[in-house]
């Protein structure tokens, strides 16, 4: 017995030594990697053996079986301890090869060592029941039970983390029925691999598509926990800075970028990345990286600004990116009530939905004689205030008193006031329309002083000012205030050369 204790001590010392000896950096020798490859083989021994030991101990609780299996349990625990020591040793060698997610690997290691420790503790109590009688008294049986329990838990968790490292985090839950998935807080099966973006309109391509690839395939070895080759790929700064071999990407030139070279190398090359034993990039991921670098490797470009290639379009379509919704289309607006629409239509306005399944409406004054009763119209617009996106009062009898009410329609993006009685005073009310993109004022009496109210409109893209009192000076001022604004003041005809064609 003393001998077995001695060897057990040797084994534990060996594990501790291994933990100290195996540093995280430097390229491991082929032989240690070869030994590491036995980890999956050895690792299943302690799992089975220790679980059987626990099962037999549980059976022994039945009065008729008391003490029956003690010898067997003792042997199982002994073999279990040794095989778990071997598994830990092989595992540490295997981990040297790198390519595993650092967090999960650390937990896997901790739990593995815990298995060794508590299996040893359980063995000690089993082999020497009087071990601690002096200082634990009647607690000893419980200590034994607790040791077995913790051991079982540690075996389970080690196995789980090992599975996650080998097969990926969603291996177990991949085919879980949707109902259970939802209870577990997981997305539905159909949504696996689909992007779940909070606000796609303001997400960069890098954050949405590129960083997750680097995160899942590269940063375990090139991130905060390890910097193989002095390279980190977890932040834009580190990516730009590069590692021992210089920057990994050349913006605009994927075929000059080491990152792409390394991905494309054949598996026989030991410079191939990710290394053979690590999870590989999918073809779609490789293509996204190549495309992103060729497109300039921008860290700032937002999803709505992107020009997809046909291939990347296919990829992101499949990821559920769809059309990026911006402006009012990104808002969660309640659909209008049909009865309110009827009310509005009753006043002689044409009310049509902006598009199928959108909560927004386009409203148009059809005739010059409509839209003169500002009070009644404002009343009818009020319940639909959040639904009106395109408002066309052009060529109608609308005046400043009606425009005042438009200020209460927060989601108006296109506003036609051409050929109406609107004046500068009316424009004063439009300054708060944060989504207004298009404003047509042609054929109205507005002047330079009215335009000043529009300088604060954040989304304004185009404005039409033909046949108004606006001067070049006013246009210049507005253009300075909103540099990207398209200002149309009508067209000046340039003569076309007389037709000289033919023979």
């Amino acid at each position: 017995m003393k001998q077995s204790l001695f060897w057990l001590g040797v084994g534990l010392a060996f594990v501790v030594l291994m933990l100290v000896m195996v540093p995280g950096s430097g390229r491991p020798s082929d032989f240690s990697l070869f030994l590491g490859r036995f980890h999956p083989l050895v690792v299943h021994l302690p799992i089975g053996i220790l679980v059987v030991a626990v099962l037999l101990e549980a059976l022994s609780r039945m009065p008729s079986l008391r003490g029956r299996y003690d010898t067997g349990i003792l042997a199982l625990l002994y073999i279990g301890v040794w095989s778990s020591i071997l598994a830990v040793a092989a595992g540490l060698y295997l981990a040297q090869g790198g390519g595993y997610a650092a967090g999960q690997l650390a937990w896997h290691k901790r739990m593995g060592v815990l298995v060794v420790l508590f299996a040893s503790l359980a063995y000690l109590y089993k082999v020497w029941p009087g071990l601690s009688e002096r200082w634990l008294r009647h607690w000893e049986r419980r200590v034994y039970g607790i040791a077995l329990g913790v051991m079982l838990l540690a075996v389970t968790l080690t196995g789980h983390f090992g599975g996650v490292l080998t097969h990926g985090p969603d291996y177990l839950s991949r085919y879980l029925p949707d109902g259970l998935r939802q209870m577990a807080g997981l997305p539905k099966k159909a949504d696996i691999g689909r992007l779940q973006l909070e606000n796609p309109a303001e997400t960069t391509v890098y954050a949405a598509l590129i960083a997750p690839i680097l995160q899942s395939r590269c940063t375990a070895c090139h991130g905060p926990d390890a910097q193989r080759g002095g390279l980190r790929l977890d932040t834009p700064d580190f990516i730009t800075e590069g590692g021992d071999d210089g920057p990994p990407i050349v913006a605009g030139e994927a075929h000059e970028s080491a990152l792409i070279h390394r991905i494309w190398l054949p598996v026989s090359s030991d410079k191939k990345m990710p290394p053979l034993e690590s999870p590989q990039l999918s073809i779609a991921e490789a293509e996204l990286l190549r495309w992103w670098i060729d497109a300039g490797a921008s860290f700032e470009e937002l999803l709505p600004e992107v020009e997809w290639s046909p291939v990347t379009q296919t990829i992101v379509d499949h990821m559920g990116l769809g059309e990026i919704r911006t402006g009012i289309f990104a808002l969660d607006t309640v659909p209008p009530d049909s009865m309110d629409i009827v009310q509005l239509a009753g006043l002689g306005l044409a009310v049509t939905p902006l598009a199928e399944n959108e909560p927004y409406l386009q409203v148009r004054c059809v005739h010059p004689e409509t839209c003169t009763d500002a009070g009644g119209l404002q009343e009818a617009l009020r319940p639909l205030a959040r639904n009106i996106a395109w408002l066309d009062l052009g060529r109608s009898g609308a005046g400043d008193d009606l425009v005042e009410g438009i200020a209460d329609l927060p989601h108006v993006t296109r506003l036609h006031l051409q050929q109406t009685l609107v004046t500068d005073a009316g424009l004063a009310d439009l300054g708060d329309l944060e989504f207004l993109e298009y404003l047509n004022l042609y054929g109205t009496a507005v002047t330079d002083s009215g335009l000043i109210h529009l300088e604060t409109l954040p989304a304004l893209r185009s404005i039409y000012l033909w046949q108004t009192g606006v001067t070049d000076e006013g246009v210049r001022r507005l253009q300075t205030a909103i540099p990207d604004l398209y200002i149309n003041t009508g067209l000046s005809l340039t003569p076309v050369e007389p037709d000289t064609t033919g023979s």
Partner: protein, 470 residues
């Protein structure tokens, strides 16, 4: 309910709303009636209406838009078999024992910041080149006029399907209950390939969605004015009585068709006022005639129709279909195309400019093009001054402007000799899908059930060409 009547339309919320005269279209309404019914379509509209300047007969891309120096260089040489690859020809040139390449009689230059290639036949269009989106890789399935134009406008070579404008009227409804949502204007006194009313027919859609032709002259819309001796008040009374009679059958089988008839009678009555107003060009200022050209003063010309198209667009008409015949230049092409271009170039460009200064180009889609293209080889005798070209469905050009289309773009490419497409082909159904997308319609979802199946403009084809969209 008795078996006899089980197809009686039930009084639904939708029907109720429609009866209140909201003028909402079928498709679009469905989302409001039952917001939970369908998945999001991901289609956000850019345009509200279309002005389609249809150039009937098949304008030659070689003399207008598709610059081919290689054809110039190989002028008179035989079309290489390596290019034609045994593809079918029409019966008109299939028998020719020689197919000599014919260079363009007209020179090309690049225009605007976009550097779009245009021939000297289009000096006005050249001025607005940066507003336009040229598609040089259109292709179609039909090789002769009638099937090709029917295919372009109804999505099927076989007549009987609803026209594009009817689909839009059905899908989006009208914005002005005093005018048809779908109006048709045909250049007067043009010969060439015939046009049939079925090109703007409603097919199996309710009949109020058919295109209404506006003519030049005394009666812009036929049978609209009151007969001699009948006053407007009498006509109104007559229609009111008729409506009462019709209403006796409310809810009976076929009521939907009766309703459609009532709607048309009432529309016609309102059009007695609205049509003369829209057709009256006398109040258009001088500079507008300077812009569209002197032709615009003469009703029924392409120029006058372009001006009318703008006026209809201003009044909320959804789809304004112009037809200009006479592009079918099998022979005498140089002289013929020169005349055609003179008639269409200035007014087409003017329409784009006029819409632009009114702020309407942002929500109006203008399309200029024919039903197919023409061959790179000569039909008939090739001389220095004269030649002709046969029908060619494998590639042709058109342009679009406004309505969310990417301006300053030349999309697609044909081979060096302009016979086949080498990059980014656009099928007729792709174009239809793209145009519908710009109007906020998912072309796969705007369907109408008829004779047991759901029909759509693009049949079972069509892909939205996203690069064409700004």
């Amino acid at each position: 309910m008795h078996a006899c009547c089980n197809y009686t339309p039930l009084s639904t919320r939708r029907e109720f709303l429609e009866r209140l005269g909201m003028g909402l279209g079928g498709l679009a309404l469905s989302s409001l009636i039952n917001p939970a019914a369908a998945a999001p379509a991901d289609v956000i509209p850019r345009a509200k209406r279309i002005i389609y300047l249809f150039q009937s007969g098949g304008p030659s891309q070689f003399e207008l838009f598709d610059y081919k120096p290689a054809v110039n260089a190989m002028h008179g040489q035989e079309l290489p078999e390596s290019v034609r690859k045994g593809q079918r020809l029409t019966g008109m040139t299939g028998f020719q024992n020689t197919l000599p390449l014919a260079r363009s009689h007209f020179s090309f230059a690049q225009h605007g910041e976009s550097g779009a290639w245009l021939s000297e036949l289009m000096p006005y269009t050249a001025k607005v080149a940066d507003e336009l989106c040229f598609v040089k890789s259109m292709h179609t399935e039909a090789i002769n006029h009638d099937p090709a134009i029917t295919f372009f406008l109804t999505g099927s070579q076989i007549a009987g399907r609803p026209s594009f404008g009817s689909w839009l009227s059905y899908g989006l409804g009208t914005e002005n209950e005093n005018l048809p949502a779908f109006c048709v204007l045909i250049t007067k006194d043009k010969g060439g390939q015939p046009l049939y009313a079925r090109l703007w027919g409603n097919g199996f859609l309710p009949s109020q969605h058919q295109g209404v032709q506006f003519r030049s002259g005394q009666d812009p819309v036929l049978y609209l004015s009151n007969p001699d001796g009948v006053s407007s008040a009498q006509r109104k009374m007559q229609l009111d009585r008729l409506r009462e009679l019709h209403s006796l059958k409310e809810g009976a089988p076929g009521w939907a068709r009766i309703e459609s008839r009532i709607a048309q009678y009432e529309m016609a009555y309102r059009m007695q006022t609205s049509v003369p107003e829209v057709m009256d060009l006398t109040r258009e200022p001088e500079y507008i005639f300077d812009l569209y050209g002197e032709d615009a003063r003469e009703p029924g010309t392409f120029a006058a129709n372009c001006l009318l198209a703008r006026r209809l667009a201003e009044r909320g008409v959804r789809f304004i279909q112009l037809f200009h015949q006479g592009w079918d230049h099998h022979g005498g092409l140089p002289a013929g195309i020169q005349m055609q271009s003179r008639e269409t170039d200035q007014p087409s460009a003017a329409l784009v400019q006029d819409l632009k200064q009114r702020g309407m180009l942002e929500d109006t889609l203008v399309i200029w093009g024919g039903e197919f293209g023409r061959t790179n080889y000569c039909q008939g005798r090739l001389t220095d001054a004269d030649y002709g070209r046969d029908h060619h469905p494998r590639c042709f050009s058109l342009w679009m402007a406004g309505g969310g289309v990417r301006s300053g773009l030349s999309y697609g490419e044909t081979d060096e000799l302009g016979y086949n497409i080498v990059r980014d082909p656009v099928h007729v159904h792709d174009l239809q899908a793209t145009l519908m997308h710009l109007l906020g319609i998912d072309h796969e979802r705007l369907t109408f059930k008829y004779q047991g199946r759901r029909f759509r403009l693009t049949d079972v084809h069509g892909t939205v060409i996203k690069p064409l969209i700004a």
